[in-house]
Symmetry: C2
Subunit: 209 residues, 2 copies
Amino acid sequence: MKAFKIPEATVQRLSIYSRFLHQLMDEGEDTVSSGQIACGVGVSSAQVRKDLAYFGEFGTRGVGYKVDELYGYLMEILGLDHEWNVIIVGAGKLGSALALYQGFRERGFVVKAILDVADNKIGTKLGQLQVESLAELKNKVRDNDVHVGVVTVPAAEAQKVTDEMVEAGVKAILNFSPRVLKVPNEVVLRNVDLSVNLEVLSFNLVQNK
Amino acid sequence: MKAFKIPEATVQRLSIYSRFLHQLMDEGEDTVSSGQIACGVGVSSAQVRKDLAYFGEFGTRGVGYKVDELYGYLMEILGLDHEWNVIIVGAGKLGSALALYQGFRERGFVVKAILDVADNKIGTKLGQLQVESLAELKNKVRDNDVHVGVVTVPAAEAQKVTDEMVEAGVKAILNFSPRVLKVPNEVVLRNVDLSVNLEVLSFNLVQNK
């Protein structure tokens, strides 16, 4: 994995701020203070100011931020000012859920294909998509200018699928399998273990006692 | 949301360290250095030592950590030395995927029920479970000693379902809906927006250019 100067927690919060700003735009708000953002998303206003300060000077003292400007800027920082084409490998329940997940599309992530090896899955309809054979991986990545691959296969298959994605030219991989994966330095990898989320909760439940 | 002294990023890494230690135990390893842990999970060894230092002194200089001891200790810190009963509300693709997700069970999270309001979903089999009516929420929480609720309903329903969970006695909520939710102070809330994961990738892709 590569190291970046901006902490990942900050990037995650920028993503959350941008959603909140989008809500404000929908509600017709023109300006917003760091305090309002903080309150809206559940962090301190000092944290909001610190996160935004990574990217230079925003806002006017006593007035706050222009909602649409800050939103546009955050979307640009996050690389969301254009679409990203995505491929999913693994058409189980989770892969299928992700293929249909509206939230991806809303944020500019377009699932171009979902692939599997199982004959009983290939051909299944998932909204606009149809599950296709993993043998199509290279063609799909090339023909659809795919940058992002999502791995939703069983742990035992995850490294093999990842290697194939990298070879096919995928530049960023989101791994939902519980396996620690290896990728070349130039490929961005992010592991999503859904249990980790529950474990953060159980940690906090225990601390609360 | 409540504030805790241990950064959430640390808690997430402890969870990841514990998985890696479990792998080592399976492979018959007795001791491990912070460098090995670091290499195995893709962080710096200074980070590993810093994370573990939150919880006191571990390991012996030049020898490292005893794998089973450190594993046991991390599981205890994470509140994973016993089982947690979980209820899922929303039996769409994502809720169904989570109800069947093996990784939860492996880490001690036992899904006791999955509820929905849709007549065409109620009664559907999901592994050992059967989708039940949301009207059963209170009974299910009480009868199964449920601590954790998972929200996988559409955004428009999310706050209502959350309020019902809190009223039923759920102490921790994992929210997969794209809505910012409000909970009382004593309830632990964690939002999982699956798009955020893709956005961290796109941020990194843009920075790499």
